[in-house]
């Protein structure tokens, strides 16, 4: 099979053994790679009801057919496990050289099972798999871990690792690779920590032939050229930080734990202000022509730099009601170095700070609070205590969903999560297609698995009916599933005139298949149905597709404009969505539907 190694590397860290298994062509024709293949392998390797932080939850790294093609933005991989935040499917994507190395060692996917008794660092290269002692790396930051392994292993190894947060099983711990890129969401870093794996390094340069190298070479040139045009201007110039000032002006920037009552001006932390007033440089993932990554030199920190994008800027700033630039940059850097998802970390702190303001923290917890001088200091100390699981941080490391259930006193109503995953920086009371997508996403409150905001930002958005929003979210999810499985970076999407046509042709030129655009779109549908079926198997029910109560009870009032969404409006949209998916009104997938998609229960 062209484009694939046709191999899965299975590593059992309990017995410290490993083996290769064949990857059947049927499977990748159905699930492609990346997050689709990851979902398939999770379904196979995760026992029903597995506790996410136990030896039975597999941790899966997946490359894709486009990895190694040198097409722009395709050096990406997916990490998949049962999420310790949601108890459902947890998948996150990250990028750069390590994706090439995973494929370079001869694997399309690596499935890690079991749990080690002592801390280890895995090394995968042409010798096979080594299980090295990692006790000397404990407590080290993500960048120090990478650097240390680079020193001991020598040139050519690419490493994914966890920081102290992952070691301490912070439920929203991330996995870091290639100098600070993060597989951030859903807590895969905690799963890695529960297996006592500090790091996994790959070295391999195996080249996988493509079916039609000449056609690919032409596509490469064409895409490179187009990727430097108007379709990617925002990402190339200011990066995604550009969202902040726009969202603030349009009153769709969630602030102060989605209370949006802040009088603060966030203009001084806008992408525009950062670019004019701070030292900003651009960086690229491997094989990317766009370069959306903006590295900002942190003031008063020597030459220390932080990779900043909109969601981290939002979560370390407006979400917690902080507008101090230095605090935001340092907090974001701290999360990256400790290996924590910025959105969940910021949101959990924002919820806790609101509880403090409301005076509903249990007496016994108050004693666990760090000393602090002001709000900014409190936030920084909370982040530190979470990563260390010290004092109050040991509680907050469980995430806003679990801790709000423990406190009660109405605090669940303003814990801003869906299914246990905290909400990103898009305002669902104004962006109703996004509201639906956040509610129904299989991985919890996620903006990336549907890109539904695109519909809300279009010139027709005012006239959308609820039924159209249901259909749009289905379209957006299926399209995103194909992107995340091939894997393209989302920021290249507008470069395509016709995504499915062009992607099918590229996939055929890589694999030698004859897949048509419709079949490719159906892969997206199949992948989303499989993810949902996994969740159903793990106890999903209709009540999990919802939004936090605050979204319904607190409308946004800006002068004469009131933005709101009611529970019944959301319910209606969810019904339309289930209908468009061909599911029952309870959101269950009928067996005929599974059969028609070739999914065996």
């Amino acid at each position: 099979m062209f484009g694939y190694n046709n191999k899965i590397l299975i590593i059992d860290v309990s017995s410290k053994s490993w083996k290769w298994e064949d990857l059947e062509e049927d499977v990748v024709r159905d699930f492609i790679g990346g997050s689709g293949l990851g979902a398939y392998l999770l379904y196979q390797h995760c026992p029903i009801g597995a506790e996410p932080l136990s030896h039975s939850n597999p941790l899966i790294f997946c490359a894709s057919p486009l990895v190694g093609s040198k097409l722009t933005t395709t050096s990406k991989f997916a990490v998949v496990s049962k999420s310790p935040q949601t108890g459902f499917i947890g998948d996150s994507l990250s990028s750069s050289s390590i994706a090439l190395s995973i494929k370079g060692v001869g694997a399309d996917a690596v499935v890690i099972t079991g749990a080690s008794r002592e801390w280890i660092s895995l090394v995968v290269d042409k010798e096979g798999v080594r299980f090295n002692d990692a006790s000397n790396l404990l407590g080290t930051t993500t960048s120090a871990t990478e650097k240390s392994l680079m020193g001991t292993l020598g040139k050519g190894y690419d490493t994914a690792c966890i920081g102290p947060a992952g070691e301490n099983l912070v439920r929203f711990a991330s996995i870091s690779n290639d100098g600070g890129r993060q597989a951030g969401r859903t807590g895969n870093g905690a799963v890695m920590g529960s297996k006592k794996i500090k790091a996994i390094s790959f070295k391999g340069h195996k080249k996988i032939p493509s079916f039609d190298e000449n056609a690919l070479a032409k596509t490469r040139i064409d895409l490179n050229y187009k990727s430097l045009g108007e379709a990617t201007e925002k990402y190339r110039t200011l990066g995604t930080m550009a969202n902040l000032s726009v969202f603030e002006r349009l009153k769709i920037l969630p602030t102060g734990n989605f209370r949006n009552q802040s009088n603060k001006d966030f203009q001084n932390i806008s992408g525009e202000a950062m670019h004019t007033e701070e030292k900003v440089s651009t960086s690229h993932c491997a094989n990317c022509t766009i370069g959306c990554e903006k590295l900002i030199t942190i003031p008063n920190s020597g030459s220390e730099k932080v990779r900043l994008e909109y969601q981290s800027l939002f979560a370390m700033g407006p979400l917690v009601g902080i507008s101090d630039r230095e605090t935001i940059l340092k907090s974001s850097k701290f999360c990256d170095e400790s290996g924590m998802d910025t959105i969940s970390a910021g949101s959990t702190c924002a919820w806790f700070m609101e509880c403090m303001q409301k005076g509903i923290i249990p007496e016994s917890w108050l004693k666990l609070l760090p000393r602090y001088d002001n709000e900014e200091d409190l936030f920084a100390q909370l982040l530190r205590s979470i990563a260390e699981r010290s004092g109050i941080g040991d509680i907050l490391a469980e995430g806003s969903a679990r801790v709000s259930e423990a406190i009660g006193l109405g605090s669940q109503e303003f814990a801003m999560h869906v299914k246990g995953l905290e909400m990103p920086g898009y305002e669902p009371r104004s962006l109703h297609t996004m509201a639906l997508a956040l509610a129904v996403s299989t991985r919890g409150a996620c903006h990336n698995r549907s890109s539904a905001y695109e519909y809300d930002f279009s010139s027709d958005s005012d006239g959308y009916k609820q039924s159209s929003r249901g259909r749009m979210v289905v379209e957006g999810e299926d399209y995103s599933a194909v992107m995340d499985s091939l894997i393209w970076c989302k920021f290249v999407r507008r470069v395509f005139d016709n995504f499915y046509d062009e992607s099918a042709e590229i996939l055929n030129n890589i694999t030698g298949w004859d897949i048509d655009p419709k079949q490719l779109a159906q892969c997206g549908e199949r992948i989303n149905n499989l993810k949902k079926q996994f969740n159903i198997r793990e106890g999903w029910n209709r009540s999990h597709d919802n939004l936090p109560k605050r979204i319904f009870s607190d409308p946004l009032i800006n002068g004469e404009k009131v933005s709101s969404i009611s529970e019944s409006e959301l319910d209606n949209m969810i019904e339309y969505y289930y209908d468009a998916r061909g599911w029952t009104s309870d959101g269950i997938i009928p067996s005929e539907k599974l059969v028609s998609l070739g999914i065996k229960s």
Partner: protein, 95 residues
Amino acid sequence: MAINLTVELFGNSQVLTGQKLIDLQFLKPQVDICDVIQALGQRFPMLDGKVLDFGTKSLLSSYALNLNGVGFKDAAQIELADGDSILILPSQAGG
């Protein structure tokens, strides 16, 4: 009769010009987006080819228009009135 408009710039358009807000005055009874783009072009030539296309008097596809902070509009749909704010912002919403 004069029509006074404010143009609010976002993203790279703001960085290129160094301006967040630009006041424009038109001494005629009706103004459309082409007039606004022409006026912007005269004052800020650095926007040509980066944000605007002066030749066709239109925005590049990397930018979108919003009137008074409410809803997104195609240029043809926009009717301008005295006191309006026209937001020029990046059309890509991702991130």
